[in-house]
């Protein structure tokens, strides 16, 4: 009897784990984004609502250690330079567990953002709740959000462009195009695009 119960419990846990392991529920284009309060590398807390002048944001789930994120780092810095003054600044968020991935600890984030002179916030998602709510699964992944009244609506989800190895060779600059379209009051022509990246290092349950 005890064994049967144990087996049932094991099977149930297993089924629950395997059902969630494939696809995390998260935001779709058109959804309203939950606001968050996350700690920046300077110790201050940042929310979507913090910057009253922002028309929206380029939210980038990224990290220090993923080679794909590193390959895109300069392109993220350039996106902020290009769009912050136009009302769409970058906010970078690192959700990797610092224990599983010490190179992504808060201290390491501070160092990276200082070394590379990030002109934008680099936030730590310590509970990983923001990444889970958005449905970010790998780095780098971008969510472009647009302010609509007091809400922030998701307008684009996915890759920065279609050439990880060489941005100069990219024939599709998804994020740049999306923000330009939003600034021009147009719908985003390519609202999602997938790319290969490093799975987020989730805390062990």
């Amino acid at each position: 009897m005890k064994t049967a119960f144990f087996l049932c419990a094991v099977t149930a846990t297993f089924l629950a784990v395997s059902a969630f392991s494939v696809l995390q529920p998260g935001y779709q284009v058109g959804d309203k984004a939950m606001d968050f309060s996350l700690k920046n590398v300077d110790g201050k807390t940042i929310s979507l609502g913090s910057d009253k002048t922002a028309k929206g944001y380029v939210l980038v789930f990224t990290c220090n250690t993923c080679p794909v994120a590193q390959a895109y780092e300069q392109r993220v810095i350039d996106l902020d330079k290009q769009f912050a003054s136009k009302g769409y600044p970058v906010i970078a968020i690192n959700a990797n567990d610092g224990q599983l991935s010490p190179g992504d600890s808060y201290e390491a984030m501070k160092k990276r953002s200082a070394d590379k002179k990030y002109g934008f916030p680099y936030l730590i998602d310590e509970t990983q709740q923001v990444a889970k709510t958005f449905g970010a699964t790998h780095t780098p992944t971008v969510f472009v959000v647009q302010r609509q009244g007091s809400d922030f609506v998701i307008k684009y989800i996915g890759a920065i462009d279609n050439n990880a190895q060489d941005g100069g060779q990219a024939s599709q600059k998804y994020v740049q195009n999306a923000v330009n379209e939003l600034l021009a009051g147009q719908p985003v022509a390519v609202p999602t695009a997938k790319a290969i990246g490093c799975g987020i290092k989730w805390k062990k349950a």
């Binding site: 392991s21 696809l23 794909v68 790998h138 279609n162 190895q165 599709q172 997938k194 490093c198 799975g199």
Partner: protein, 164 residues
């Protein structure tokens, strides 16, 4: 001139011999992958998408090699699809595969950098995160995707229903 050619020929031979230490790794395009995934036969296919730069992928690679030799009699075929840059085949991928002594599992390098053009075709449920593994039973068309790394025990457990 002829002498030059001969030297070039020897040089080429040496290069070929060098690179075939371990297994030769074919660079493929999406239609080749599609053929691997869809061509009808009676095997059970485990297709693992990985890269040398992906730490959890690197840790689980030996499990795939072990499963491949262990279940060969059950018609299980393992294909490791590297998403490394094709330019790094000789420098990174081949030495890695030789070092890890991957012999039973077949390794290919998918040279398709416009990811959005093919990820959904492999599996709509795949976000693009590595590692990603597909298990396919070609006979009964059973197919399941896993966007997470495996332990050897987990991989064996997931494979079992496909064999029976």
């Amino acid at each position: 001139m002829a002498l030059h050619h001969r030297w070039l020929f020897f040089l080429l031979l040496i290069l070929i011999a060098e690179s075939s230490y371990g297994q030769p790794i074919r660079i493929i395009k999406y239609p080749d992958l599609q053929q691997i995934l869809e061509s009808p036969n009676d095997s059970i296919l485990i297709v693992n998408f990985w890269a040398t730069w992906c730490a959890p992928c690197v840790s689980e690679i030996p499990h795939f090699e072990k499963i491949s030799s262990q279940f060969a009699a059950s018609k299980v075929k393992v294909i490791l699809v590297s998403l490394d840059a094709a330019s790094l085949l000789k420098k990174k991928v081949e030495p890695f595969i030789a070092r890890k002594r991957i012999k039973s599992a077949q390794v290919v390098l998918l040279d398709e950098t416009d990811y959005n053009a093919w990820i959904d075709k492999v599996s709509p449920e795949w976000s693009g995160a590595l590692p990603f593994t597909l298990i396919i039973n070609k006979k009964n068309k059973l197919r399941k995707g896993f966007e997470r790394p495996f332990t050897e025990a987990e991989l064996t457990a997931e494979l079992k229903p496909f064999i029976q």
